[in-house]
Symmetry: C2
Subunit: 346 residues, 2 copies
Amino acid sequence: MATIRDVAKQAGVSVATVSRVLNSNGYVNNETKKKVDEAIRQLNYKPNAVARSLYKKTSKTIGLIVPDIVNPFFPELARAVEDTAHKKGYNVFFCNTDENVEKEEHYLEILLQKYVDGVIVASNTLTAEKVKELNIPVVSIDRKITAEIPTVVVKNKEGAQKATSYLKEIGCERIAHLRGPHHIDNANERADGYLEEVGSAPWFQSSYIADGNYVMKTAIQATVELLERHPEIDGIFAANDVMAIGAVKAAHRIGKMVPEELAIIGFDGISMAEATTPELTTIAQPIYDMGTAVTDLLVKLIEKKPVERTFLELKVELIERESTRKQNNNKGGREHGAKDHSSRQY
Amino acid sequence: MATIRDVAKQAGVSVATVSRVLNSNGYVNNETKKKVDEAIRQLNYKPNAVARSLYKKTSKTIGLIVPDIVNPFFPELARAVEDTAHKKGYNVFFCNTDENVEKEEHYLEILLQKYVDGVIVASNTLTAEKVKELNIPVVSIDRKITAEIPTVVVKNKEGAQKATSYLKEIGCERIAHLRGPHHIDNANERADGYLEEVGSAPWFQSSYIADGNYVMKTAIQATVELLERHPEIDGIFAANDVMAIGAVKAAHRIGKMVPEELAIIGFDGISMAEATTPELTTIAQPIYDMGTAVTDLLVKLIEKKPVERTFLELKVELIERESTRKQNNNKGGREHGAKDHSSRQY
DNA sequence: ATGAAAGCGCTAACAG
DNA sequence: CTGTTAGCGCTTTCAT
């Protein structure tokens, strides 16, 4: 590969001049600039980003740390992050931690050694202290770590309330909740939202809440048990779409019709929710927008540009599909006015 | 951040000595090593990977170029690549090209400037010529580019034959094919496999092959038209799972029962295929293994270790689920002996 | 407007 | 066994 020296020699100027035209700063005569450009072209010269990084102490790269890209929530997020980063001239290092603290800290260390300018984390295990030590901007997505760390999340509680009250509106009278892990904030917030809506209903029992752990397999099992214990249940709010899909399978397995006998609503808005039969009604997060927002935020922090707010709470949206329909149990189901905001393309 | 100089000063030795203990090469007295280690600990020193890269002309990073991480085939692949790379001490830059040549070439250029040691591409648009210019190892996954570029693929034709003959075995007598894009090799190979099995059957018509373009929306439309034009069709081999899911939806929409009236089999083995009702029978690719294999291959090339073969063609596996069952059309369906190798976990 | 030269943090001869 | 030193390729004062 040609270096800046080769270009300088070829153009008959000094490396400083070449550097000047490369970065278009400082004065440089139009004629000499032409010579340099020509030399660059002839040699097919590309500046060495590593050398530049070493000097400038910045690398135009960021780290993206997710638990597991295979989790259907993350591909779209990762795509948004990469798109936005690329647009702003940054490359992204891609890391999976499986929610494992050591792995996470190890990655952070490596990223730091590689001079990343900032990092985006989706993590529950990261402490504020560790982040401080890094001395580079860190932003959190989907999970709030501490008040000091800039964060992009969605209105989980509000979404959960929306889901639950929607089930009430279409006529469900015994609504259960398939909740996520107790150590994950957004799972607790969603459970809170559910409780807010039905916690004080005369029919409510704490055993209407089942642990699904955000995983399909567990959710299937939990739903089967739930429905066997409580055959009166006519609506389920699952705290994520994966569990909602599990719930659909469970219902199918024990012969409950969805949505006729049992309405099911999920949370997230992952594309897998459109693969099911019936297609899943869900509270959709603006996943791509979240990715864009965190990345914008991070880049602003890196480039020390002013940021308005460091805590963004984005809105969620009810997408009505087939897994919920007005229940015709003539006990008072009301008309529901929501339109289908689905992104179905056919 | 502390530098090697700081450590040297703190330990009362020269930077060379520090470098020696860092890289554990060259002789260094055990006592001085201890002093150095202690200084490193005290200063919480971490060597600067950029400076090291600059000197060594290698960065311990690789690039991963995929069309779109949102495409359900790629998250698992990306995960495998990242896992394997990490295990071998490499980080991975993550790039989405949308199959766009300019974007792809642009990424390659940037990666090159950033000194990546090698790159893994999933691309149809890359030319051998471009790869040559790079002067670093490049390996291709899922798509063969040219003979010179080391590649990991699966036995597409064989898998397609397996899918088609399986449909015959369970009693289908009018088997259609939902094919992928004409410019993608694996789509053509899968179509070839299908043709091999049924192309000369008395009932065969070229209009039994529909273009689905690997996309759900298109596949739904194509399947509806196909079934309206040819109501006699009792089996569909879709060239990927996403289209197979589309076919299931199409069948559902026009009131054909799957699998009773219409058997559907996909290709890929993505997890989404387990979210559907009925769950999808498919020809599964060993996606994770493919990722591991390309990464191993790439790292060997980078480190100039001997590689046995530079063209790996992995086996696919039939996973029987619910979307295909022995057709009871008493016209001669035979027993089929395949076991369920499904990864269903419940 | 241009060039010389120092230095980013590290590694690897080479000398001792 | 350890230290001195010359780079890796680039950017940026500081002179001129």
